[in-house]
């Protein structure tokens, strides 16, 4: 569980980016943080594993305060973080070396490291590339390697910071599948994105605007709110909301994609 209480953050240059944020991330949940470029998403989540310390307020991870140097080690093991640029989080020459980096830092025995590396690589489906040079991989494969590298630390909570934004649409959906699988298997997920479509699967969506929380709720609530305020939502949702407003489909329907909306309107026999 991650808890932010009254968190504000001011960059050293005086840039106030977060303003009095309260968030509580429950175990096992899937939370998407949605926001435009520069809204403070990265700044926010970097508080969740102690990369940044709040200027004001408290951040705690499973009861440990990120401001306490004694706990930072345990916090980083508990909260794994995957970043946006697949090319600038590689720390080894080959896939297995890169994945081994975390467990090596935990000073584990080499047999245990091997076991964790094999498991983590299997979890992202890169078994056949274990020995490949990172230089020879695609962006999507690199990003899977980065996820495996974090999984090898066996964290309870996983944070993804716009991990798909530099990938093509195929790799994007593969990565999203991996993330959803991990959540189904019990990992707590915080998923940062500026693509609304990627927020649909979440249990909860938090919309960040200029460093404050503009809305927070289930995807249905949040997208309804965004739609009601006249801003763009994914096209199939806009259609669904319009049909609901016109009384053509039930008001509790929240279709994940165009196909499920079509099923709602005319079920296939």
């Amino acid at each position: 569980m991650i808890e932010l209480k009254g968190v504000s953050y001011i960059y050293p240059n005086g840039n106030k980016v977060l303003d009095d944020i309260y968030i509580r991330i429950e175990n096992g949940s899937f939370t998407t943080i949605l926001g435009d470029n520069g809204s403070g998403k990265s700044t926010l989540i970097r508080h969740m594993n102690g990369l940044l310390k709040p200027s004001q307020g408290v951040v705690s991870v499973c009861g440990m305060d990120t401001a306490s140097p004694a706990d930072i080690w345990k916090i980083r093991q508990t909260v794994g973080m995957v970043f946006q640029d697949p090319h600038s989080q590689a720390v080894g020459a080959t896939v297995e070396e890169d994945v081994a980096f975390g467990p090596e830092n935990l000073a584990l025995e080499s047999d245990e490291i091997r076991l964790r590396v094999t498991n983590a690589i299997a979890n992202v489906g890169l078994e056949c590339l274990e020995d490949s040079l990172l230089m020879s991989l695609s962006g999507g494969q690199l990003q899977k390697t980065a996820i495996a590298g974090v999984l090898a630390m066996v964290p309870e909570i996983l944070i993804f910071d716009e991990v798909t934004s530099m990938l093509d649409s195929d790799s994007r959906s593969q990565i999203i599948d991996i993330v959803r699988q991990l959540n189904k298997r019990g990992k707590t997920v915080v998923y940062v994105t500026h693509h609304m479509e990627e927020a649909l699967f979440a249990d909860r969506v938090i919309v960040l605007e200029n460093g404050y929380i503009a809305s927070d709720g289930t995807p249905w609530d949040v997208f309804r709110e965004i739609y009601a305020s006249g801003r763009k939502v994914p096209p199939h949702l806009e259609l669904a909301f319009r049909l609901q407003d016109a009384g053509m489909i039930s008001p509790d329907v929240f279709p994940m994609d165009a196909l499920s909306l079509k099923e709602e309107i005319c079920p296939s026999r």
């Binding site: 970097r46 594993n49 990369l51 080690w73 980083r76 093991q77 794994g80 973080m81 970043f83 640029d85 090319h87 600038s88 989080q89 590689a90 720390v91 080894g92 020459a93 080959t94 297995e96 070396e97 890169d98 081994a100 980096f101 975390g102 467990p103 090596e104 830092n105 935990l106 000073a107 584990l108 025995e109 080499s110 490291i113 091997r114 590396v117 020995d131 040079l133 990172l134 230089m135 020879s136 980065a146 590298g149 974090v150 630390m153």
Partner: protein
């Protein structure tokens, strides 16, 4: 990635199985011996030894061929010595190689080629990560802390460079391509061309370095102590090879 300079070629030979420390130590001893030999005949022995070891490594010619990109450098070293060594001129012209130059040039070049070849034999039979682990273990007893680093930090730096350097080259290529496609005039003015490439590459590499540092920090990196996926264990065979190499080196140097 075959044909890459100093690339690793997977295999199960005796050379592959040796402890990296033994291999690094042996290459160091061989380098000293090669530098000490002042006759081409002596160097022939090292060349034959190299051929023998290459056959033993079973990596075929790919290890040797990987040094091909260095060929111009070899030629350059040879020519410089041939032309600029004092001695009897070969041709009756103002600018001519000398007999002494040819001799010295071949000696220096063959030495250099042999050093590179033995280096490539080390890297073609040892994974980069294992070499780094070996170097780390060799450095560990040194009092590096006094100069403010640890053996682990040095090893991590090396393995980071293994990805970072080729990636940076690739990145520079990308920027150059995008500048060319936007009509930049490299050909006409090489100086401003280089500058307009260097600045974005420098900026990009600083950003990347920041990002990598953050990724490492989130994965619990601290330079004080870490273990390795590739555990190093000295076996009886390693000790044997080490003693033989040490013995032979001592014999040649002091006898």
């Amino acid at each position: 990635m075959e044909g890459f300079l100093f690339s690793y070629v997977a295999g199960k030979s005796i050379l592959h199985g040796l402890d990296p420390r033994v291999k690094i130590f042996s290459v160091m001893c061989l380098s000293i011996l090669i530098f000490k030999s002042s006759a081409l005949v002596d160097l022939l022995v090292f060349a034959l030894l190299f051929v023998g070891l290459t056959i033993l490594a079973g990596s075929g010619l790919s290890g040797i061929m990987s040094v091909r990109p260095l060929l111009p450098i070899f030629v350059f070293i040879f020519l410089i010595h041939s032309f600029f060594t004092e001695g009897a001129a070969l041709f009756n012209s103002q600018f001519s190689p000398t007999y002494e130059g040819l001799l010295k040039g071949s000696l220096v070049t063959v030495r250099f080629v042999l050093l590179i070849l033995y280096g490539s034999l080390l890297t073609s039979t040892t994974r980069p990560a294992v070499i780094t682990a070996g170097i780390e273990r060799i450095l560990r007893p040194l009092p590096l802390r006094r100069v403010g680093v640890t053996s682990f930090e040095i090893a991590t730096m090396m393995s980071l460079a293994l990805y970072f350097v080729p990636h940076l080259l690739w990145y520079a290529g990308q920027i150059k391509d995008s500048q060319l496609s936007r009509g930049s005039k490299y050909r006409r003015n090489p100086i401003s061309g280089t500058l307009s490439l260097a600045i974005p590459v420098l900026k990009g590499s600083m950003r990347m370095a920041d990002d990598v540092a953050m990724a490492m920090e989130s994965r619990c990196y601290q330079g004080n102590f870490r273990t390795s996926l590739f555990e190093l264990k000295m076996t009886a065979r390693d000790v044997l090879v080490c003693s033989v190499v040490l013995g032979v080196t001592a014999l040649v140097l002091y006898a």
